[in-house]
């Protein structure tokens, strides 16, 4: 009878989960079957049917043995070993007692006292083991809960991570789209810049045209005049020769030779001006070549002066060239450097003329002020220096920082593109590895200093 109760307890616990260990549905069915069997056996034993009682008792032990055997042999049920070991002694004692009683009533009676003691010990063992198991179970339970919590947390983290990943993907897509847009915008800006640079070139060419026309007209006049006068001289020479005045004739011949030299000189002058103009307007990047900076400075100072003169009849200014005769030839892109010089010199003339017209408007005594632009070249220890100085109104401190920015201009709308100085800066620094600096005293002067290596 007791053994069936133990079976019931064992089966009940076997069914229950222990910590993280659970049993499969199939095992549960088997255990349920076992429980029904033990309940049935309990009931049958309770009927106290003589003779059959022994059979039920034997069946009960067989069932208990099966439970023990199955539990210990199956790896799936190993976590219940403790339970089995707790109950095993008392089961053994019960079996021994029943067997002894079955075999010999007298032996049983003589040993009954011992059996009682052993039963008590087995029971104590069972209880001790049970308490111990309970502790273990609680520890395992705790562990299971922790693990479950961790799993929950992990799942939450996973969910957040997924969400984040989605957001990141969305943002990335957004950024990529913006990047694409920016690339397109940049391309458009580059194209616009190209066009503006071209426009600036053309604008400065326009400023040059009048100067160039004047500069070409002068040598052409000389070519025409000297060839005319040479014809006259040669006719005179013929007369002198006929009259036998060879002295006179020789003198005239010398003059004619000199004149032909002049014709060649002025022809070349016109030629170089035209070449310079072609170079200036050329769109592609020029080649660096050994250049006489003094010549270039002289040429562009004149072009600028005559250009402004031709455009504005009221324009008056003085210009000075202070050229270092020891200036070495250096490698530059002549048309680019020419563009810079033209820009700086034009600005200088503009600034000086502005001051003059300001003084005139203010009805101050203007006779003492002569707008003057001075171009100076100097050999440095390393490289050369070109200074373009005007005695205009100067540049104030606050404007000075903006002056090399593209599109910054102090000229009235339509008079300046605002690209001249920024382009000059690019040409000197990036194109030639030089420096473009500025010195100015408001009201007195402005001086741009180009340093070329």
């Amino acid at each position: 009878m007791y053994i069936n109760i133990i079976s019931l307890i064992l089966l009940y616990y076997l069914k229950m989960p222990l910590g993280l260990n659970t049993v499969s549905e199939e095992w549960k069915r088997i255990f349920n079957g076992g429980m029904i069997a033990s309940v049935a056996l309990l009931a049958l034993e309770a009927l106290n049917i003589p003779l059959l009682d022994y059979l039920f008792s034997a069946l009960s032990y067989i069932l208990a043995a099966l439970i023990v055997y199955v539990s210990l042999r199956n790896p799936e049920l190993h976590h219940r070993k403790g339970l089995i070991y707790a109950w095993l002694p008392i089961m053994g004692v019960l079996l021994l007692t029943d067997l002894t009683e079955f075999i010999s009533e007298s032996l049983y009676q003589s040993l009954e006292g011992y059996f009682g003691t052993v039963k008590v010990f087995a029971l104590i063992w069972a209880i001790a083991m049970w308490i111990n198991n309970t502790k273990q179970r609680k520890a395992l339970e705790l562990e299971r809960r922790k693990t479950e919590e961790k799993e929950k947390e992990y799942k939450i983290t996973e969910a957040i991570k997924e969400q984040l990943e989605i957001q990141v993907a969305e943002r990335t897509a957004e950024i990529m789209r913006q990047k694409e847009e920016l690339v397109v915008a940049l391309e458009e800006l580059k194209a616009a810049q190209e066009q503006l640079i071209h426009a600036e070139k053309m604008a400065s060419l326009g400023e040059l045209t009048a100067g160039i026309a004047h500069e070409i007209q002068n040598p052409l006049n000389f070519v025409n005049n000297f060839s005319e006068v040479s014809t006259e001289l040669l006719q005179e020479m013929k007369v002198e020769l006929r009259e036998g005045n060879s002295e006179e004739a020789l003198e005239i011949a010398e003059d004619v030779i000199e004149n032909l030299g002049k014709i060649a000189h002025h022809g070349k002058r016109a030629d170089s001006i035209v070449k310079g103009m072609l170079q200036h307007s050329r769109a592609n990047a020029g080649q660096k070549e050994e250049t006489d900076i003094n010549l270039l400075a002289d040429e562009y100072l004149r072009l600028s002066y005559h250009g402004l003169r031709a455009k504005d009849k009221a324009f008056t200014a003085d210009f000075k060239l202070d050229l270092d005769p020891n200036l070495p030839k250096i490698e530059v892109i002549p048309q680019d450097l020419g563009r810079v010089l033209l820009n700086l010199i034009n600005n200088a003339f503009y600034a000086a003329a502005e001051k003059k017209s300001m003084l005139t408007e203010a009805k101050t005594n203007t006779s003492t002020f002569i707008p003057t632009v001075t171009v100076t070249t100097k050999k440095l220890k390393k490289g050369i220096e070109i200074r373009v100085r005007d005695n205009g109104n100067g540049i104030s401190e606050e404007i000075r920082s903006k002056i090399f920015q593209p599109f910054f201009t102090t000229k009235p709308t339509g008079k300046g593109t605002g690209l001249g100085l920024s382009m000059s800066y690019e040409i000197i620094t990036k194109g030639h590895g030089g420096q473009l600096n500025l010195e100015s005293k408001p009201g007195e002067y402005t001086e741009f200093i180009i340093i070329l290596p």
């Binding site: 002068n218 000389f222 001289l233 009849k313």
Partner: protein, 132 residues
């Protein structure tokens, strides 16, 4: 008779000397040259009264322009004739020159025949004056 030619182009001197070679040789004409307005005024201020009777000046020069020189000469030496020579034969310059008392206005390239005619008339006037 002495005339002064003012032009920043130095080759003008050679050209004028050759063009008026005969006149210079015969002694009826004396030429002198200045290459800027200031130089011209200095030259004129050197002699008192200046022997120069006629000035031909370019308008377009660095520093003092021909028109400024014209005004200066007319203020200081009203008896000297001044004619302008300019590459820019526009009416504005012409008006200004004439209003400031220029005698003639020549455009570049110089028509030496008309210039010679002008000078020849001058010489004959000058001669008749000095003779008279």
């Amino acid at each position: 008779m002495k005339i002064l030619i003012v032009d920043d182009e130095r080759d003008v001197e050679l050209l004028f000397r050759q063009k008026f070679r005969k006149e210079v040789r015969s002694g009826s004409l004396e030429l002198c040259f200045a290459f800027s307005g200031n130089e011209a005024l200095e030259l004129l201020g050197h002699e008192n009264p200046p022997k120069v009777v006629y000035v031909f000046s370019d308008i377009n020069m660095p520093g003092m322009t021909g028109l400024e020189l014209l005004k200066n000469i007319k203020e200081r030496f009203p008896q000297i004739n001044v004619s302008m020579i300019s590459a820019y034969g526009d009416s504005e310059n012409f008006e200004k020159a004439m209003n400031s008392g220029a005698k003639e206005f020549f455009t570049k390239p110089i028509d030496f025949e008309s210039l010679r005619a002008e000078i020849v008339t001058l010489i004959s006037q000058h001669n008749s004056q000095s003779n008279g």
